[in-house]
């Protein structure tokens, strides 16, 4: 059963080949057998999962199912789940049992998806390798000596190893796309505001966005269908109708205009990856697309602007962790100052503290104009680059990350080297655009992803473009040895 996609499993459930309970037990069995090695899960919710599966079976029997009813999934531990630890990968929230469900969690539950547990991640989603998690790093199923990417590394590894057919992720600077690329799966970051952020523990509020991670674009379409939509509880959520993402998957790509930004293929890109991207683009040419080179001239400024905006918003968002209302509190505080300083000093890990300090500095008196305001202006320049590009092309393609998965410890001592692994993804968050990563080949034994960027609310088009490629290639069907 585990070899099947969500779409195939939904067919199997519909045809009564197996029940959701059997499916859930099978995947729980795989988690038990394989996850001690991978460390993709922080919490497995076996009892709740089996109860939800029985409910799903009743719903299937009544003929009231959606395509996700009875399908096992798992949630990144950044989403609040009622009655279940919601740790965000941090010691700060190790003891936090959320009193409510995030909107994404509630919507997937309403669709009938069965949550198997909560997935490991970089602490507060700050990291690109999963090495900053309080619960230890997740291993890449393709080579357990390499990182799965981050911050949604647990989600990517779990889907890649067939521990779940689909999972949620969040993406602030590449946290869905980069791990999808490193683990050989499909991951979509929707347009900013497409999916509600309510109950999703905030890192950088003007950039954060939740999205689906699965093996195929078809499965991502099914998950996004349930996740997307207006939510009055998130003031930045956009009130726009949600199209039927599955309906247009097979649309023709004849005449599709693809732009390749020359800035994505310069120095710093592993030549092996450049070659694989060009091979994938050739497939699109065969499917009828027209390819042209484009330019995003301010691309090189996206890293510097991001490392102002994201830490500044992080320092403000993480001010809520005060050791008073919830979360970690230090032992025997001498006074209120000591309570704040030590609860936060002991509860946060090194990378989170680095970002809080950078953000606090950037927002401190006298520096606002030089850093945050300047970064917001650069953000405008980057977004205008994309706007001009989308006058000429329908989608933009390029590498998701400059390299395949790197080894544990390779970049963890140098923050800048780590930040550069998101160099092709962060501009998309700064502009608020949707982007997706699909597997397009291997560099040695490690999978490589290609990024496809679309215009605002063009998720259906992105999924269509990815799906057609997956109809004529089989990279997305390859499984790591340990998952077979």
């Amino acid at each position: 059963m585990h070899e099947n996609t969500i779409a195939a499993l939904a067919d199997g459930l519909g045809a009564k080949e197996y029940s959701s309970q059997e499916l859930t037990e099978a995947f729980l069995g795989r988690i038990q057998a394989l996850d001690a090695n991978l460390n993709a899960f922080i919490t497995v919710t076996e009892e709740q999962a089996l109860a939800a599966a029985r409910e799903a079976d009743a719903r299937l029997a009544k003929g009231e199912a959606t395509p996700l009813t009875g399908i096992p999934i798992a949630q990144k531990d950044i989403f609040c789940t009622k009655g279940v630890r919601s740790s965000c990968g941090s010691k700060m929230l190790d003891n936090f049992i959320s009193p409510y469900d995030a909107t994404v969690v509630e919507r997937l539950r309403r669709a009938g998806a069965v949550m198997l547990g909560k997935l490991n991640m970089d602490e507060f989603a700050m990291g690109s390798s999963n090495e900053t998690s309080y619960y230890g790093p997740v291993k890449n199923p393709w080579d357990t000596g390499t990182v799965p990417g981050g911050s949604s590394g647990g989600s990517a590894a779990a889907v890649s190893a067939r521990l779940v057919p689909g999972a949620t992720g969040t993406d602030t600077g590449g946290s869905i796309r980069q791990p999808a690329s490193f683990c050989g799966i499909t991951g979509l970051k929707p347009t900013y505001g497409r999916v509600s952020r309510w109950g999703m523990i905030a890192f950088a509020s003007s950039l954060d966005q939740a999205g689906p991670m699965a093996r195929t674009a078809e499965d991502c379409a099914l998950m996004l269908q349930a996740m997307a939509g207006f939510d009055p509880k998130d003031s930045t959520c956009v009130d726009q109708p949600v199209p039927n993402y599955s309906a247009t998957l097979n649309d023709s790509l004849e005449g599709l205009r693809i732009g390749l930004p020359k800035e994505f293929f310069g120095a710093g890109l592993d030549p092996d990856i450049g070659r694989l991207i060009h091979e994938a683009v050739d497939e699109y040419r065969k499917l009828g697309a027209a390819i042209r080179e484009i330019s995003l001239p301010n691309m090189h400024l996206s890293g510097p602007a991001y490392y102002v905006v994201a830490p500044a918003e992080c320092s403000s968002n993480l001010a809520r962790f005060d050791g008073v209302r919830y979360g970690y509190r230090c032992q025997a505080p001498r006074d209120l100052k000591d309570l704040y300083m030590r609860s936060r000093g002991e509860g946060f890990g090194a990378e989170v503290k680095r970002r809080i300090l950078i953000g606090t500095y950037a927002l401190s008196a006298g520096y606002y104009d030089a850093y945050y305001l300047k970064a917001q202006k650069i953000r405008r320049l980057i977004s205008e680059d994309f706007k001009r590009a989308f006058d000429e092309v329908d989608v933009i393609m390029g590498p998701t990350s400059p390299s395949a998965a790197f080894r544990f410890g390779e970049k963890s001592a140098d923050p800048i080297a780590m930040y550069l692994s998101d160099i092709y993804t962060i501009a998309v968050n700064l502009a608020g655009l949707p982007g997706l990563s699909i597997p397009v080949g291997f560099s040695g034994k490690l999978p490589v992803g290609m990024q496809i960027i679309g215009n605002y609310f063009a998720e259906a088009r992105l999924l269509n473009v990815a799906h057609r490629y997956q109809q004529v290639t089989d990279w997305h069907r390859r499984a790591p040895l340990l998952a077979c």
Binding site: F96, I97, P99, T191, Y192, G193, S206, P232, S235, T236, V238, L301, G303, P304, A305, Y307, V308, S315, A319, G323, V324, R325, Y326, G327, Y328, R329, R334, D335, L336, K337, D338, L339, Y340, M341, R344, G345, E346, K353, R354, I356, L357, I358, T360, Y361, S364, Y371, K374, Q376, K377, I378, R380, L381, S383, P415, I416, Y419, L430, G432, L433, Y456
Partner: protein
Amino acid sequence: MSLTTEDVTRIAWLARVEIDPDKTGDYARDLSGILGFIEQMNAVDTETVAPMAHPLDQAQRLRPDQVTEPDQRVVFQAQAPAVEAGLYLVPKVIE
């Protein structure tokens, strides 16, 4: 911009995050490196560029001024490290 260990201590105080005194040198080095990376922004003239606060340039939505949240104090305080009689407990602030 290069930060000193004194700068790190001051910023850590502003952020209310305790930094191990043995580690302030490491933080000063890492943060200075990150600021150097960030300052590549300065190469561009942005004098006439309008700052972008929201990717879709949306204005804040307003809602009717009605009570929508029920009282959940008991539920929320179940998560708190220390409460008494419905109040959050902290070390004494006023002598």
